[in-house]
């Protein structure tokens, strides 16, 4: 192989260019080459790259080795390396900037297309579901449930309700593909007596422009949804069970200095609070004899990257309340130290499927080591990836959203809301007809 020749630089180095853009960017040069990042990174070895090597190339100014390297799409920017780094170097944010070294049109089509789609319509939906289509789907599914489930004849799913306390974001996947998956959450909100609303404008929670490392577009999508919530006079911007949308709004608001009185909050701590306040009373009795084991995936975007271990604790509190303390098994490592599943960073849309499945092996092994039948993921991308890992590696576990489990334990999970449950739970704790 040709040697690397370190010449005195003529042009500004990549690292110098991004120093002001990366949070804690003054630390980028501090690498001790200790290997803490690489030793705990699921992407180590993919395309012969690892986080230490990548940073090293950048520190040494070997920019041409970085530019256009496909590894930037194989790193999910989960920031486990940053968490481990004794120098606190934000390698994740550096990879984000390195994605930018790719010409926009050459970036992975799936991510690019989803971002552009969201930019094309005011709904913010990456799947291109318009404001009106969204409202139609909501009303359609709402009508159906009121008709087929008499107990829920008063179920509400308000759209553009002025002055509602919570503005709830929605990932396009449910209205686009599996609208019945929205019902458990509506039921939960109903039981807890929550004052909430969807909006037509900017209802789409997802933000592929963030994965595309397209700052301008990320900001545009985030601004659109935040402004919509502000227009409705809401107090809290409530992120649904979707890690990256939570992070994109939470981080986007800071990164782009979006001036807003809104509190930006994830939903898991609210579930926990509603249970603690007695507004939700999940019962794990159904599992007392079944003894079905559950584990949870801590979404990087909601735990390590933003809300930290307190959210992870709330997540466990809710799951345990639903399945019984003795039927919960934690995977190790967990909480802020958890491994990314490989669903983050736009991986699922990037087209690097082989790398993604390889990346996910660690997660698959972690889940299998728990012996759990179910992995609960309060995140769409985690859900999708962990589900796909089970299919690819032919594992027996099931992957479910937290709302499914919560609704099940509240005794309100309808028959057709059990797509992701296994055979063992199809008939358990069904609501009385």
């Amino acid at each position: 192989m040709e040697p690397f020749v370190l010449e005195k630089e003529k042009k500004e180095r990549f690292l110098d260019r991004i120093r002001d853009m990366v949070p804690g960017g003054d630390r980028l040069d501090l690498c001790l080459t200790c290997g803490a990042c690489a030793s705990g990174c699921p992407a180590t070895g993919l395309e012969g790259m690892d986080p230490r090597k990548f940073l090293r190339l950048a520190v040494l100014g070997l920019d041409d080795q970085i530019a256009g390297h496909p590894w930037v799409w194989m790193c999910s920017m989960c920031m486990r390396c940053t968490h481990a780094c004794p120098m606190g170097i934000n390698i994740g944010a550096m990879v984000y900037e390195a994605r930018n070294l790719w010409p926009r049109e050459q970036r992975p089509k799936g991510i690019l297309g989803s971002c552009d789609m969201a930019l094309r319509n005011s709904s913010g939906s990456a799947m291109g579901i318009s404001e009106d289509d969204f409202e139609w789907v909501i009303e359609d599914i709402l009508g159906e449930v009121r008709e087929t489930q008499p107990a829920w004849k008063d179920l509400q799913a308000p759209v553009d309700k002025k002055g509602a306390h919570f503005f709830l974001s929605q990932n396009s996947r449910e209205p686009g593909i599996e609208p019945e998956e929205m019902l458990p959450l509506w039921k939960i909100l109903h039981i807890a007596g929550v004052d909430w609303t969807y909006s037509k404008r900017g209802w789409g929670g997802e933000n592929y422009c963030m994965f595309l490392a397209d700052d301008q577009s990320w900001e545009k999508v985030t601004r659109n949804t935040i402004e919509s919530a502000m227009d409705l006079g809401c107090k809290v911007y409530l992120n649904t069970e979707c890690g990256h949308s939570t992070y994109s709004v939470w981080m986007g608001q800071k990164k782009f200095n979006i001036d807003t009185p809104l509190q930006i909050e994830p939903i898991v701590p609210h579930y926990a609070r509603w249970i603690r306040e007695g507004r939700l009373n999940p019962n794990s009795e159904w599992n007392r004899d079944l003894k079905i084991k559950f584990t949870v995936q801590d979404p990087c975007q909601q735990v390590r990257k933003s809300f930290g271990d307190p959210l992870a604790e709330d997540l466990r509190f809710v799951v345990k309340a639903c399945v019984g303390e003795e039927n919960f098994i934690d995977m190790v490592p967990n909480r802020s130290n958890n491994y990314c599943c490989g669903g983050g960073g736009g991986y699922l849309q990037s087209g690097y499927n082989e790398a993604r499945l390889k990346y996910g092996e660690l997660k698959k092994d972690q889940i299998l080591a728990t012996g759990a039948h179910y992995c609960v993921t309060p995140c769409h991308n985690c859900h999708d990836q962990i589900h796909k890992l089970a299919e690819h590696y032919q594992c027996g576990y099931h992957t479910i959203h937290l709302w499914t489990l919560l609704a099940l334990s509240l005794g309100v999970l309808g028959e057709n809301e059990r797509t992701y449950l296994g055979e063992d739970l199809q008939d358990v704790n069904l609501p009385e007809a």
């Binding site: 192989m1 040697p3 690397f4 020749v5 370190l6 010449e7 005195k8 630089e9 003054d26 630390r27 040069d29 501090l30 690498c31 001790l32 080459t33 200790c34 290997g35 803490a36 690489a38 030793s39 705990g40 990174c41 180590t44 070895g45 012969g48 690892d50 230490r52 090597k53 090293r56 190339l57 520190v59 040494l60 481990a84 004794p86 120098m87 606190g88 190790v332 490592p333 130290n337 080591a369």
Partner: protein
């Protein structure tokens, strides 16, 4: 006053007390010893920690001029240097120290067990306790937090059981006020608590332990009796991992940015010892960032660990140790040399935790107004490394920065030296001297032997039938009295023995107890106090040799104890009083070497009131420091040297002999006669002590990396000289490359030159500062800016200096290609060949010493394979030579930076003053003597003696032995083929009598 009774405080106290000052040693716990007392073995010699510490503990406990204040905290200090008012709170011990005989009955019956922090909480102790068996003072204390009598008013068993009525539940805290002239703070450090930012599950999983806990696991006095087992199932582990830099070199919450400096070497030690302990071929792996074995002889230790012991060294920081279901083991993921992520299971994981200032330490520092740095270590200047920001308050040991035992000991002697130099006016004013009793002449009297057999609590009596040993001793010839003692060494017993000597007219004493190494001087003092010669004493070690090693066979142990006593009694009947000649100490000192170390030593001695001859080979003083620019902290060395030279030259107490070489040395401690030659003229100087500070030099790596053929290639020292004179050529440098370890850490020179990493970084920063657009690369094997120097390393990275770890095995080449310098090597992380094109190449060259230094022969001191002088003991006597009256410091001892050279020079001066200030010293009576009638003048004794005590008499041509030099080792006596040499106290008749009755 010395605050903190760890090894640093102990050394400072002893040096000060031996130099004529009254010392108060204040210790917060119930006994002195500190961290060192908890260690199993010490690196790099693998000496038993307690065995080498214990004599010092005993010495402190016995010292007439050291007053020990245990369970005490310093509250405030007011006043100024020379006159401080100190307020101290002494917390209640609840045990009367005068009455307690440490029999242990109280603890045996105490119903309350609590985790024993001394044992890393791996074992338990009682609410009434001594910290460890060899504790000084060996007096029980009640832990008021766990004692149920004190907390709930119940129980009271210990008071009932105590045979001497020592337990006092009504004991109260006392306020003590002292007036002292100087304060030495040696509060030490504590290990990092990994539970602060627990990513490993240290608190959750029993088989993840800290390195200090692992010391206890290895220790024979530890929770598992020295068997290598893991806590979860007490089974022997087959694989152990050490994770380095836990809480050090880390920016995480609770962790510290600096390097703790000791963990690499202690991890190597622990891994080597664990392998020795293991029965099943233990597999050990050390996960590291850089291996920093930069202390003296540490690199060889590292090489031995790697090459001989087969310890695996893996350069990968590890951030988790995942529990493996049901096995008690842990899975470690790391990145290997080829960049692959690997997984490996280990039975046990040891966290190599760093050192940090205790909260109490920081509090005290703040209360006293001592400046602390951002890590709460005491702030000091490189030029006065043991002086705090408050005049008269000195710091040493790990309170000044993370450091190992030798450095702590050097610092503490230095603190004693500097404190002593400021207080020299009041030397011997407040001290007491031992009363010398007139000795009764017993020569010619029939032996009347007294035998005292010690139970040592249960230590001996638990195995050996002490009563039976006493009964058998009573029957032996010449024994007129025999008895057993609970603790023969207890103050009360000592008084009783003295009384019995007088009452029963005993003229030979045999004590059957523990080791003479630690306790013989104590009993000898008792004999002296009773008015008989101290050599009329024999000691039998029935603890180590009977009860400890034959625990399983008490009957045989008892029989062996009886036999040993019988042998000693036989010998005792034949021992004769011996005289200890008194040697006068000439009050002048000679310091050899006029570099920084020599000048500092001379200056300190002069300040302490002793005349000094300072000998320098070169025409001017200053040594290597004349080419140095700045210390790692950025202090101006040139200015300091200039000032020092002036100070020394102006000092009337110092006679500078520049341009002089030493031609001949006669004499010995107290009376050296050294011949100097200057410009062909010879002069003999008389002096009582000698400090060797003859320095070392930087290697000129001729021929290597184009040095000497291409003038763009220079050494680190040459660069410093250019920086110092602001050489204009530096302005033209666009790209500078430093190569580390040039000539160091290679088979020819298997040592680390210690100072080059920080020096290169400092110089690199100067180049950057001079011209910010200069590209600077440092190519290295392991970066070793130890201790607080890690901050400098971080600053350098921050400022864009780029560090490249290269693969040493694949080599490094420097070539000249069409006029361009090319440096090529393989980068460790990228695993690719790299090429740099510097216009200045700086070689961080080794520190070297000539291997056949004539001084070594003159002063009968030894050099190691690398040419550096060998100190008396690497750990505890780092500035003494085995030859009495000769001390060393500076680069002659080993490579070290300026601040450490200065501390060592001050330490050497302090050690020298302990001799000078005494005025005279007694020489041991146990010396060899030649019978000239039998001597055949063969010369064997002259050649075998390691201390050069025998020589041929100029008059008679027969051998004679200089008793001042004789150590009583017996080598000459055993080697003499004519039977002309006898060792007093071990003559043939005495030894034969022992053998005959065995």
């Amino acid at each position: 006053m010395v605050v903190g009774g760890g090894v640093a405080g102990i050394q400072a106290s002893l040096d000060l007390a031996d130099s004529g000052y009254k010392v108060f040693l204040v210790e917060k716990s119930a006994s002195i010893g500190g961290v060192m007392a908890r260690l199993d073995k010490t690196f790099p010699t693998n000496d038993c920690s307690m065995c080498i510490l214990s004599p010092k503990l005993v010495e402190v406990g016995r010292h007439i001029n050291i007053e020990l204040l245990t369970l005490s905290d310093v509250n405030t200090i007011s006043g100024e240097e020379g006159n401080f008012e100190v307020s101290i709170t002494r917390h209640p011990r609840y045990v009367d120290m005068d009455k307690c005989i440490a029999c242990g009955l109280c603890a045996e019956k105490c119903p309350t067990s609590v985790p024993d922090s001394y044992d890393g909480n791996l074992a338990s102790r009682k609410a009434i306790y001594v910290q460890y068996a060899q504790a000084v003072p060996l007096k029980y204390a009640i832990d008021p937090e766990s004692c149920i009598k004190l907390t709930k008013g119940k129980c009271g068993i210990c008071r009932k059981k105590c045979p001497t009525g020592a337990v006092d539940y009504e004991d109260t805290r006392k306020d003590i006020f002292l007036n002292v002239g100087a304060v030495v703070i040696s509060q030490g450090a504590e290990t990092f608590d990994p539970a602060v930012h627990d990513t490993f599950g240290y608190k959750k999983y029993p088989n993840i332990v800290t390195s200090l806990e692992f010391e206890r696991i290895l220790s024979a006095s530890g929770p598992y009796g020295g068997h290598l087992v893991r806590p979860s199932d007490e089974k022997e582990p087959e694989k152990i991992a050490w994770l380095q830099c836990i809480g050090s070199r880390d920016a995480h919450i609770g962790a510290r940015g600096y390097c703790s400096g000791v963990c690499c070497t202690y991890a190597i030690k622990e891994a080597m010892l664990a392998k020795e302990h293991s029965k099943s071929g233990l597999d050990t792996a050390i996960f590291y960032i850089d291996i920093r074995t930069n202390g003296k002889d540490f690199e060889k230790y590292y090489n031995r660990a790697k090459e001989e012991a087969g310890i695996r060294f893996i350069k990968s920081k590890v951030t988790e140790a995942l529990p493996v279901d049901g096995t008690g083991g842990h899975l470690i993921r790391y990145i290997n040399e080829s960049g692959k992520r690997c997984e490996e299971e280990f039975d046990m994981v040891v966290l190599s935790v760093g050192l940090g200032v205790t909260n109490q330490g920081a509090d005290l520092g703040q209360r006293l107004g001592v400046d602390l740095n951002h890590y709460n270590f005491a702030e000091t200047s490189s030029f006065s490394p043991v002086e705090s920001s408050v005049a008269g308050i000195y710091v040493c040991g790990a309170f000044q920065g993370p450091k190992d035992i030798p450095s702590s000991v050097i610092d503490s002697s230095a603190a004693a030296g500097v404190a002593g130099s400021r207080l020299s006016g009041s030397r011997w004013r407040l001290t007491k001297t031992k009363e010398v009793k007139k000795e009764k002449n017993v020569a010619g009297d029939r032996p009347r032997i007294g035998v005292f057999v010690c139970c040592c609590g249960t230590n001996i009596a638990g195995v050996v039938d002490v009563t039976a040993v006493v009964a058998s001793a009573e029957q032996l010839p010449n024994v007129v009295y025999a008895e057993q003692n609970m603790f023969s060494c207890a103050q009360g017993t000592q008084d009783k023995i003295a009384e019995l000597i007088r009452e029963k007219d005993l003229n030979r004493i045999v004590v059957a107890a523990c080791s003479p190494k630690t306790h013989e001087p104590l009993f000898q003092e008792t004999l002296q106090s009773a008015g008989i010669n101290k050599y009329l004493f024999e000691m039998v070690n029935i603890r180590n040799q009977c009860s400890w090693v034959h625990k399983q066979a008490p009957e045989e142990a008892t029989q062996k104890a009886m036999d040993l006593v019988k042998m000693s009694v036989a010998k005792a009947a034949r021992v004769q009083p011996l005289k200890e000649p008194i040697l006068q100490i000439n009050q002048r000192a000679m310091v050899i070497g006029g570099g920084i170390a020599g000048m500092i030593a001379a200056d300190n001695l002069a300040q302490q009131g002793y005349a000094v001859d300072l000998v320098e080979r070169q025409a001017r003083l200053g040594g290597n420091a004349l080419s140095l620019y700045k210390t790692w902290k950025g202090e101006d060395i040139a200015g300091f040297v200039k000032q020092m030279v002036e100070k020394v030259e102006k000092n009337p107490g110092i006679t500078v002999h520049a341009g002089s070489t030493i031609k001949k040395v006669d004499g010995f401690v107290g009376a050296f006669g050294t011949t100097l030659e200057k410009e062909g003229c010879r002069e003999v100087l008389d002096h009582g002590v000698t400090i060797i500070a003859s320095g070392a030099s930087e290697l000129k790596p001729e021929g290597q990396y184009l040095y000497g053929t291409d003038d763009r290639v220079i050494t680190g020292l040459e660069l410093q000289a250019r920086l110092a004179r602001r050489d204009e050529s530096l302005d033209n440098v666009e790209t500078a490359v430093f190569i580390q370890c040039v000539g160091s850490r290679i088979p020819e020179r298997p040592y680390c030159s210690k100072l080059c990493c920080a020096q290169s970084i400092r110089s690199a920063l100067e180049l950057k500062e001079n011209k910010p657009e200069t590209e600077v690369f440092i190519v290295y094997r392991d970066m070793r800016p130890y201790g607080l120097r890690e901050d400098l390393y971080r600053e350098a990275r921050q400022k864009g200096i780029r560090f490249l770890r290269y693969n040493f095995d694949k080599g490094l080449d420097v070539t000249n290609e069409k006029g361009c310098l090319k440096v090529s090597f393989t980068d460790f992380v990228l695993r690719r060949k790299m090429v740099l094109s510097p216009d200045m190449l700086v070689l961080a060259a080794a520190i070297v010493r000539e291997k056949n230094d004539p001084l070594a022969g003159f002063f009968k001191v030894t050099q190691n394979d690398d040419g550096f002088y060998v100190e008396a003991h690497l750990k505890l006597r780092p500035v003494d030579f085995a030859t009495d009256g000769v001390f060393l410091c500076g680069l002659a001892h080993g490579p070290k930076p300026v601040d450490e050279s200065i501390a060592q020079a001050q330490a050497a001066a302090a050690r020298a003053v302990t001799l000078l200030s005494a005025g005279s010293i007694p020489v041991s009576g146990t010396v060899a003597q030649v019978n000239p009638r039998l001597c055949s003048s063969c010369g064997v004794c002259v050649s075998v003696c390691p201390y050069s005590a025998p020589r041929f008499s100029e008059k008679t041509d027969k051998a004679e032995i200089e008793s001042a030099l004789c150590k009583g080792c017996g080598l000459c006596a055993a080697s003499c083929r004519s039977g002309a040499i006898a060792l007093k106290g071990f003559d043939d008749q005495q030894i034969t009598s022992m053998i005959m009755c065995a």
